[in-house]
Structures are given as C-alpha cells and as structure tokens.
C-alpha cells in the first residue's frame, strides 16, 4: 500500500514534468495555428481574432497552466484546426491503439513463452539453436517491414485478410478482428522474438540455479522442476521486460498504424504534426507518455507482488 502510494507520487511528478516538457517543446513550434486554420484566404484581422479566440495570444505560462488544469479534468482543449474537442478524439484513437498494443502483446506472449522456454530447455540441442536463430532473425526485422511482408503474403497473395483499414468493434466484431490480425501479428512477431530471447535467458539463468537442483533432489523430474519452480522465478525478470514492451508497443503502434492505415493515436499524432494542431499533438504525446509511465508503475507493482524478496521491504 505504501509502495503503491510512493509509486503513484513518483508517477504524478513524472507526469507533471512530462506535461511541462511537452508543452515547452511544442510551444516553440514555428507556424501560427490561427494562420494555418484560416489557410491562404485569411485576412490579418481574422487571424488576430482567431488567435484571440484560441488564446494563443496570451503569455505561455498562462497557456500552460490553463492547459494543464484542463488535463486534470480530462479536458484536452478544442482543436485549432477542426474546432472540436480533442479529448473524445484522443479517447477514440487511444482505444484503437490499445487494441493494437494488447493484441501485439498477446501474440508476443503466446509466441515467446513456449519458444523461449523450449529454446532454454533445448539450449544444447539443434532445435534450441534453431529457435534462437529464428528469434535473432525476428528481432532484426522492424515491425513495419514485418507488416509489409505480412500484407504481401496474406493480403496480396492469399487475399485472405484486408491489407489495411479498421472497423470498430461495436460495428462488426468479425471485421474488427479480421482487420486487427495482421497489424497485431506484425507487432507481435517482432516483440515476440525479442521476448523469446528474454524468456530464454531468464529460464537459462533459472536452470542453473541451485534451487532447481534442490527441486530435483526432492524427486521432481527435470521438466516438472522447471515448470513448478523454474518458471515462477523466471517470470520475475520477464515481467519487467513485458512492461517495457507494452510501452514499446504503444509507441511502435505508430508505425504499424501507418503501414495498415489504422486510425490510432499514431495516425492522429502525425496528422496533428502536419496540421500544426498544437493542442492535439500535446494531447496525444502526453497521453502516450502517461500511458508509458502508468505501464511502468504497474509493472513495478506487479514485480513487487511477484517477488517476495522485494515485497517485504
């Protein structure tokens, strides 16, 4: 409980600093949002009026405080470009990105757990070397390249799955799933390869630990000892990696969204940058950063929960 409070406090500090950094960073963006909104057909008066309407003529500190205060209430402000509330747009997109990241995570875990454990258990055999080699190859392939290859195989050649696009879950669950398969695979295969290496190394470390020998000395068979005593211990370092990976996936989704034309946060972010939609970019970045921070804290807490050595401290 104390730990939870402490972690939350540190999360809050980080988030505040992050919001400040993001704001400061984007405040120096060239390009006046009011000018952009009105396009080439704007009069200077109109620009000034709009600038006032947006509040971009106020001092930066006021703007920051205003924005940060809004954030606390979940209010991300109104877009300079599209004139609608940013909050709901981010929420919409965040859901999509979350599905992608979670789907990718699922693929990665389903792939890496068996592959990593087997690669470790067979580390002196050819099959183990093969698994390691495959995971090495997997790590070397960027997610977007995996995406392109998957599109080629499953969409272009086989025509079995859509090459891109997205259908909301509420609209058609079947189509939703069909559209998510390839993006999640391309995220998951690569992260799975990375994870496989960590699982393998965690299991290998455990394999060489005394308590596993103790377990076998008490009559556990090799595999049962690994399963009952080895894996719970190997899970501890793997969990940390999982947390880091979920963060990686959240951000990695940006690229994969581009490959598969999925309307997620990354897509929104790139659009915001192109439109010079300052508030939108700020909003998306802060959401991503806070998401990463939250994932880190949750991982940390789980880590403490899983490892009694840390728990009692």
């Amino acid at each position: 409980m104390r730990l939870l409070l402490r972690k939350l406090a540190s999360l809050l500090t980080s988030a505040v600093i992050a919001s400040f950094v993001v704001f400061a960073f984007l405040a120096v963006l060239p390009g006046d949002p009011a000018e952009v909104a009105l396009g080439t057909n704007a009069t200077p008066d109109a620009v000034a009026a709009l600038r006032h309407e947006f509040g971009t003529d106020r001092p930066l500190v006021t703007q920051y405080l205003d924005w940060a205060q809004g954030l606390l209430h979940g209010d991300f402000g109104t877009s300079y470009v599209t004139h609608d509330l940013i909050g709901p747009r981010i929420t919409d997109r965040f859901g999509v990105t979350c599905w992608l990241a979670l789907g990718g995570m699922l693929v990665a875990v389903l792939l890496a757990l068996p592959a990593g454990v087997l690669a470790a258990a067979w580390h002196r055999k050819a099959a183990g070397a093969l698994l390691s080699a495959l995971s090495q190859a997997g790590i070397a392939i960027p997610a977007f390249l995996a995406g392109i290859l998957l599109v080629y195989v499953f969409a272009v050649r086989a025509g079995a799955l859509p090459a891109g696009g997205y259908t909301p879950l509420a609209e058609d669950p079947g189509e939703w799933a069909r559209h998510l398969v390839l993006p999640c695979l391309s995220l998951g295969l690569v992260q799975g390869a990375v994870l496989t290496r960590y699982v393998r190394s965690a299991v290998l470390t455990v394999l060489h630990q005394d308590f596993l020998r103790t377990a076998r000395a008490k009559g556990r068979r090799r595999r049962a000892a690994l399963w009952r005593h080895g894996l719970p211990n190997a899970a501890v370092p793997v969990l940390t990696v999982l947390g880091l990976q979920l963060s990686t996936l959240l951000v990695g989704a940006v690229v994969v969204e581009r490959v598969f034309v999925v309307p997620g946060l990354g897509d929104l972010l790139l659009q915001g940058v192109a439109d010079r939609d300052l508030l939108l970019v700020q909003g998306v970045v802060i959401v991503l950063v806070v998401a990463v921070l939250v994932v880190n804290v949750v991982t940390d807490l789980l880590y403490h929960l899983l490892d009694p050595r840390l728990r009692s401290r």
């Binding site: 009105l38 080439t40 057909n41 859509p162 696009g165 598969f260 034309v261």
Partner: protein, 503 residues
C-alpha cells in the same frame, strides 16, 4: 479590386480535392449497399465543418456545391458558363451590368421559395459576412438589386468576366434568407440533394431532394465516406464497401483495380496544374535564362512516366484544357539539356545550389526527385526539403517566400491571375502580363479568351515557372455505374447524373 488580387485555393494535390463528379444518366446495377438507387463515394480529407462561408478548404464546396447549394450560373463539363438558377442572363454592352432572370418554382429545402430577395441577400452576404479572403471576389460588385421577384440586376464597379466565372463557384451559392442560422450543421440550399446525416470522422449522407426543381437524381441516397488514407480507401473499394473511389492518390495503386469485370478507371482532366515554382524574386531565378534553362532541363514526359506511372497530361502554362483560352504550349520548351547548360552558362548560374522545398505529399516528393535528378544532370545542385503540409509549407514557402523552388498542385480553376500579383509567392513581376489580364477581364467574353491566351503564352515564354503536368482526375468506379463525370471543372461535386446501368 482586380481579379488578380484574389488569393488562390492551393491544393496539395488530388488528396484534398477529390474527384468531382458531374454528368447525366439513369439506370440499374447495384451499389455497395446492394440497392440500385444509393451510392457510396470514397473521398480523402473530411470537411471540418459544412459552412464554406466561414471555413476555408476545398473539401466543403466539394461536398456541398452542386449537390446542396446551387448558383445562378454553373460550369458544364467543357468548362463553359451556363445559366442555372437563372434561366438566362444578360450582360450590358459596357460589361458593368448583369441581369439575371430567375427560374420559377425553385424551393429551398426549408420550404421557402427562391426569389430575387434571396439572390440579393446571398450576394450582399458575401460582401458583408464572409470572413474568407475569397469573398473579395465580390468586391467588384457595386450593388445587387431586385428588379422584380424573379429578376436581379447586378452592377459592377468595372467590367469583369472573372466575376461571372466566380459566380459558378462558392461565392455564387444561393442561400435562403431564412436558412443561414446554422450553416455549419444545417445547410439549406436549392440543390438536388439535402443533408441527411453527418458523422464526424466518417461520412456525410445526402438524401434526394424530393421537391427539386430540375430533373430529379436517380439516386435516392449518396454517402460520402471519408478516409484517412489512400490505402484504406483502396481497400474499401476492393471490398465493395464503396462504389466510387473519388480520388486515386498514387497512380501505382491502379494496378489493384485492373479487373475490368469489376472496375472502371476514369481519367479526365482537372483544374490542378502541378507547378514547379521558381522564386522570381531571388537569384538565380531573377534571370530569365536560368528559368528557361530549368524548363529545358526537365524531361516532362519522363517525369510523368516515372513519378506518375504515366498518368498526367503535359501542359505548358497555367491553363487547363477546360479553360476557353487553352492551347497546347508543351512544345515551347522541349527537353534539351544541352540548351539548358548553355543558358546556365550564359547566366553564370552553373553549379548553383537550390533549395527545392516541397510539401510532404507523395506526388510532390515524387516529382521533386525527378526534378532534382534532371537538374543535377545540367549541373545544378538541388537539395530537396519536404515540409509538412499545410502548416510548414504555408508559413515558410507560401507566406515567407523562403524558397528557391517548390512543387505544388494549384487546383483552383482559372488561376492565371496568380502570376499577376508580384507579392504572390512566385514573385513574377511583369506589368505587361498584368495588363493583358486586366484587359481580358474587362473586355467582352471573346476578348477575354484572346487576351488570356496571350497572357498564358507570355507566361510560358517568360518561364515564370515550369508546369510539370496537369493533375489527372483519376477515379475508379464500379463498372456498372454510368454518368460519372470525366473532367473536374469546378469546385463542386455534382452527383445528379450518376446512375446504375440497367441490367
């Protein structure tokens, strides 16, 4: 205010101005929804609002003009001005007075009759309430008066052919005196369609206007589906969830629609000239010889073949085939690297470093790479710098004029005047050219054609810029659809004539 003071609608390629449909027809077939009287059109770039009187951008008139709103006059597929809500109109000999005889029995979708009062109201409103610079086109109007319920007399402060043309565009749209309360969400017009539903981020649905004055559309419902990206739209077309792919972003993707049993590719002209602009105010382009050298150095055919997979008509000046003054000037500067080198040598501009600052749109970046390669061949050193569009490109290139060369699609129709304003980012400064445009604008319609043709030639000869190609109006449609327009001539998206072929 001369016509030349107008600012253009700059469109970064077909991305923003989708295919514009016009034409006639009626029939059967089956739509994305399986019925024969509905249509689904895929477009890129959703309008942020439905009110083009306060919000700029090509997407709103694309969706609204011609379908929901109509003007007194309209453009036909050949780019000629035809009477529309006005049955006919007369131009006085001095060219300062236009008398419009309004069609009777025309009703707004809010039930009100369309009368001379509405026409005057609409014209005055542009002058009074519109916030956009485009409204300046109405500055030339001295007064608009109602002669009787169905006649309107418009008096101009000086003769202007351009004004009549602009009445076919946004500013000519007729509004109801009682229907302008919430234009952003509840547009009220006289057009063949009315707004049924608008879902932000997804679609605009238009229903047939049951009380339309003219030939009623075959289609009872049209859905404009907006996509974030060409890929998604292509997929939608492939999976039959749209019937028309309103704009083909990358010509390379046409290969996916090669199945002639399902698809038809429509390629026509648009009003978008893809211009390789050269900053006339800066060295080395102050020197006409350097500009000429650039025009000689570029193999336009090769450029279209490589950067556009061959899709795109070659043009030689700021005019399109649907402009009355159009003539083929592509032979003025044939591809001739030797000549280019010679000109550069004469001008002492060999080995100059040039910044080619282009919007980061695929068509512009593609073309830029070819331009760079070809200019490098004649000894120039070109550095490509893609800038985010619209924000950075607008502020750095368009507003500040901080560039040597750029590439952008000038999508606005009849935009010769952009070269007449020396403060415009081309910074082309030739009084002779301005004079020609002024005379053309003020003269009789036939003078307009002659003068403008002359101006276009002058522009080309002066190498005020280089015209890489004409952006094609490239669409893919279900093969059973007929009545789709081939050419994109104006701002609006006319759906009236589209129909499914009979079985």
């Amino acid at each position: 205010m001369t016509r030349s003071k107008r600012l253009p609608v700059l469109v970064a390629g077909c991305a923003l101005l989708g295919g514009v449909l016009a034409g006639c027809g009626s029939g059967g077939g089956s739509s994305a929804s399986g019925t024969t009287d509905t249509l689904s059109v895929g477009l890129i770039a959703e309008p942020a609002s439905l009110d083009f009187t306060t919000t700029d951008g090509a997407a709103i008139p694309q969706a609204m003009l011609g379908s929901v709103y109509e003007g007194l006059v309209r453009l036909d597929q050949q780019g000629r001005i035809q009477p529309h809500l006005a049955e006919r109109y007369e131009r006085s000999d001095d060219g300062r007075t236009y008398t419009f005889h309004l069609r009777r029995g025309v009703r707004f979708t809010n039930g009100a009759d369309f009368t001379a009062d509405d026409a005057v109201f609409s014209i005055d409103r542009v002058k009074k309430d519109w916030k956009l610079k485009i409204a300046r086109q109405m500055d030339v109007v001295e007064k608009a008066e109602k002669t009787d319920d169905h006649t309107v007399k418009v008096t101009l402060s000086r003769p202007s052919n351009g004004w009549l043309f602009s009445m076919t565009e946004r500013i000519g749209a007729m509004f109801s005196r009682t229907g302008v309360a919430d234009l952003a969400n509840h547009p009220v017009g006289t057009g063949p369609f009315e707004l049924a539903e608008r879902r932000r981020g997804e679609r605009i649905v238009l229903d047939r206007n049951a009380s339309y004055w003219g030939t009623k559309p075959e289609l009872s419902k049209v859905t404009l589906k907006y996509f974030k990206d060409a890929g998604a739209m292509n997929n939608a077309m492939l999976t039959n969830s749209i019937d028309v792919l309103g704009t083909v972003q990358a010509p390379e993707s046409l290969s996916r629609f090669a199945d002639t049993n399902r698809f038809r590719t429509i390629e026509g002209t648009s009003t978008g000239e893809v211009v390789l602009s050269m900053n006339n105010a800066r060295e080395p382009f102050k020197d006409k010889r350097v500009r000429q050298a650039v025009r000689h150095a570029i193999d336009h055919k090769a450029l279209v073949d490589t950067a556009r997979s061959g899709h795109g008509k070659l043009i030689g000046t700021m005019a399109t085939p649907t402009d009355p003054w159009y003539e083929d000037l592509t032979g003025r500067y044939p591809y001739d690297p030797a000549k280019a080198k010679e000109l550069l040598k004469d001008a002492g501009a060999e080995g100059k470093s040039l910044r080619l600052r282009v919007p980061n749109m695929p068509y512009a970046v593609s073309a830029a790479q070819v331009v760079k390669s070809q200019l490098d061949q004649v000894g120039l050193k070109v550095e490509i710098e893609p800038l985010e569009f619209p924000a950075r490109w607008l502020s750095e290139v368009f507003t500040k004029g901080d560039y040597d060369m750029s590439i952008i699609d000038h999508a606005e129709p009849r935009d010769l005047w952009t070269f007449a304003d020396s403060s415009y980012y081309f910074h082309y400064d030739n009084p002779e050219y301005g004079k020609l445009l002024k005379e053309g604008d003020a003269g009789k319609p036939q003078d307009e054609t002659a003068r403008y043709r002359e101006a276009a030639r002058l522009l080309s000869d002066d190498a005020a810029a280089d015209w890489l190609y004409l952006m094609p109006n490239l669409m893919v449609a279900d093969k059973n659809l007929t009545g789709l327009p081939v050419n994109q001539v104006g701002e609006g998206f006319e759906l009236t004539g589209v129909r499914w072929a009979k079985k």
